[in-house]
């Protein structure tokens, strides 16, 4: 059985297979739409570059934050969260985005680095899911789109709820190596031959060298995480160019279906959480308020690019939990809102 699992989940080969599938999808799409090929190809390139150029600064912010955490934060800094009640540490994780304002591209490398510094697993999971919404930038942009009222309160409140609950599920896990790929080891081309600096050794470096370290760590992480951002952007651009959106919009009536459609749109569009509120606005006329809320809740937690990044950092079972638990919770919340309480 183990062997079958090994064959099924060979990471390197899966990467190749997904690349090949992506190529196949692209070829099929091109063949299917060969009449308008030229126009579509340039649109595909434009959309891909658009997503990439838009997301890159946010990924850079995340990797720089991760470098700063690595160099300036002491390993024992999260001891205060350990041994506290599981509820408290998950809730604390959900609110950490207020201190580290990152969106969904930047949060993945940052969370891995924080685990290395001893952050409890449940807090990290809650942080991973909540940070893209519960941070000053996103709260401000949601408020400027919807006005400071119900929608903002429900977005922040339900994100807090979903993230904390999902974090709680991970409470029983004590050792990060149980959920992280490679036991949580971070690829880094500089640490390996600087053993004398070791874990706590950055303290003694001169300031200029510390800055250099931060930049090098950030650059390595950009290359490591950027892969998944780029593949996610390629996939999202391909889907946008070759699958009619009206197809989804036509499906979208009814209290359950409309929620499902908005969630699929959130996954497909892969929009950064700092701006998705403005996009969501344009759906208000077509869909019920609660399904727009589903878009605002689930999109920041899970979309194509973040799933790709998750699979690089976490083992497959935690990734499945990370994708499915919030999905079920968000559907439960918004469908019942659709039925019992019209906004």
């Amino acid at each position: 059985m183990i062997k079958i699992a090994d064959i099924l989940f060979n990471k390197k080969r899966n990467l190749r297979i997904s690349l090949a599938l992506l190529a196949l999808l692209a070829v099929f799409g091109l063949w299917y739409q060969r009449d308008t090929l030229a126009g579509n190809l340039s649109n595909f390139a434009t959309v891909f570059l658009g997503i990439f150029i838009e997301a890159l600064p946010f990924l850079l912010l995340g990797t720089l934050a991760s470098g700063i955490v690595e160099v300036f934060l002491n390993p024992g800094v999260f001891d205060c969260l350990k041994g506290k009640s599981p509820l408290l540490s998950a809730a604390a994780g959900s609110l950490m985005g207020l201190v580290f304002p990152v969106c969904e591209c930047g949060v993945v490398p940052l969370v891995r680095r924080l685990y290395k510094k001893g952050l409890p697993i449940s807090s990290g999971i809650a942080f991973l899911l909540a940070a893209p919404v519960i941070n000053p930038v996103v709260i401000a942009s949601t408020a400027s789109a919807f006005g400071f009222g119900q929608m903002v309160a429900m977005r922040v409140g339900f994100t807090f709820l979903v993230a904390s609950l999902t974090g709680l599920v991970f409470t029983t896990i004590q050792n990060p190596s149980e959920v992280l790929q490679n036991g949580g080891e971070v690829f880094c081309s500089i640490e390996a031959h600087d053993h004398e600096h070791g874990e706590a050794g950055y303290k003694n470096l001169p300031f200029f060298s510390k800055i250099q370290r931060i930049l090098l760590i950030a650059m390595d992480e950009l290359f490591e995480m950027g892969r998944y951002l780029i593949m996610g952007s390629l996939l999202a651009a391909a889907m946008q160019t070759f699958i009619p959106q009206s197809f989804l919009l036509q499906v979208g009536g009814g209290p359950v279906l409309s929620v499902l459609v908005m969630i699929s749109l959130a996954i497909l569009l892969s929009i950064c959480s700092t701006v998705d509120a403005f996009i969501a606005l344009s759906f208000l006329g077509t869909f019920t308020n609660a399904s727009v809320l589903a878009f605002l809740l689930y999109g920041p937690m899970v979309d194509i690019k973040s799933i790709m990044m998750f699979t690089h950092v976490f083992k497959r079972k935690p990734v499945a939990y990370l994708v499915i638990l919030p999905l079920v919770l968000v559907i439960l919340i918004t469908v019942s809102l659709n039925y019992f309480w019209v906004l």
Partner: protein, 302 residues
């Protein structure tokens, strides 16, 4: 040169390349083909961060080379000078001289110069274990945006994408002040977006019938429209082209000159009202239509 060093050199080149690419897009104004102007400062931040990373990467490479050959070791200031010279020059040039070929030339020159400098210090550096080298797939995938960016024509989204995106009759709704302000835009300055908004927000838009319309947009032959009419449309983007959607006004053009889809035109005429499906939308009785070149900012921002 050993494998790790080679890959670090490639990593340095790609990082620098991305910085130069983004700086060039910004300097030439083509950035507005891809993202909302609101986010330009973020792209500039990315340019700075990437060039600093490239500088740090270069310094790491050259510094390591120097450590191994103490007798030739340049002093630290020279290394820092090299690092910022090699990375800063192309980026600065890009900001001041937005000419793609020239920038490409400078970039290639920088790459060659860096390579020679490395060979000078690096030729017999002992190899380190391959496990530490950056994965090859990372180098390949990170260079994809550069390859696609250079190979694909620099074009704003075209009407070809309307086949999958469709055209919307509703303006994006917003409760924010900024957006309702545009109802107060002077009649002559109203864009397609302003007209569509007007019809979405006002209770009785028919009071505007007969007002002068002067808008720029591209041609799209909407299958819902009768013969002799077409849409003059614009894409609206909030964040980047991934969220683009098109809005449009039907144009009644009795001369029926055959404009091809995606031609940019300036339509002047008077406003009228028509029905598409169950919805009341603004339309233009065109008095004159002039083909124009695409505006510098091809999209409208809500």
């Amino acid at each position: 040169m050993d494998k790790t060093a080679k890959r670090q050199y490639l990593q340095f080149l790609i990082t620098l390349g991305l910085a130069v690419y983004l700086a060039d897009k910004w300097a030439s104004g083509k950035l507005s083909y891809y993202i909302n102007a609101r986010f330009f400062p973020l792209t500039l931040f990315a340019v700075c961060a990437l060039s600093l990373m490239a500088a740090a990467g270069w310094q790491q490479l050259a510094g390591k080379a120097a450590e191994k050959q103490v007798e030739h070791a340049p002093d630290k200031n020279i290394l820092i000078f090299q690092a910022f010279g090699l990375t800063g020059t192309p980026v600065l040039l890009t900001l001041f001289l937005p000419k793609t070929m020239l920038i490409l030339g400078v970039y290639v020159l920088t790459a060659l110069l860096g390579w020679l400098l490395l060979l000078r210090y690096f030729h017999n550096l002992p190899g380190r274990p391959a496990a530490e080298a950056l994965p090859r797939s990372a180098l390949f995938i990170l260079s994809l945006p550069l390859i696609i960016g250079l190979a694909a024509p620099e074009q704003p989204l075209s009407s070809a994408s309307l086949d999958t995106r469709g055209i919307s009759l509703n303006a994006p709704m917003s409760i924010s002040q900024q957006s309702t302000d545009s109802l107060a835009v002077q009649q002559d300055d109203r864009t397609i977006l302003d007209w569509v908004k007007l019809f979405n927000y006002e209770s009785d838009p028919s009071t505007h019938i007969g007002e002068d319309v002067n808008v720029i947009g591209f041609v799209y032959h909407d299958p819902r429209l009768p013969q002799g009419e077409f849409m003059v449309s614009r894409f609206i983007i909030t964040c980047c082209v991934a969220d683009a959607f098109a809005i449009g006004m039907p144009v009644d053009w009795p001369q029926d000159t055959n404009f091809e889809d995606n031609t940019w035109i300036n339509v002047q005429g008077t406003l009228d009202v028509t029905q598409i499906g169950s919805q009341t939308v603004p339309m233009v009785h065109a008095a004159s239509i002039q083909p124009v070149s695409a505006p510098e900012q091809p999209y409208l921002y809500p």
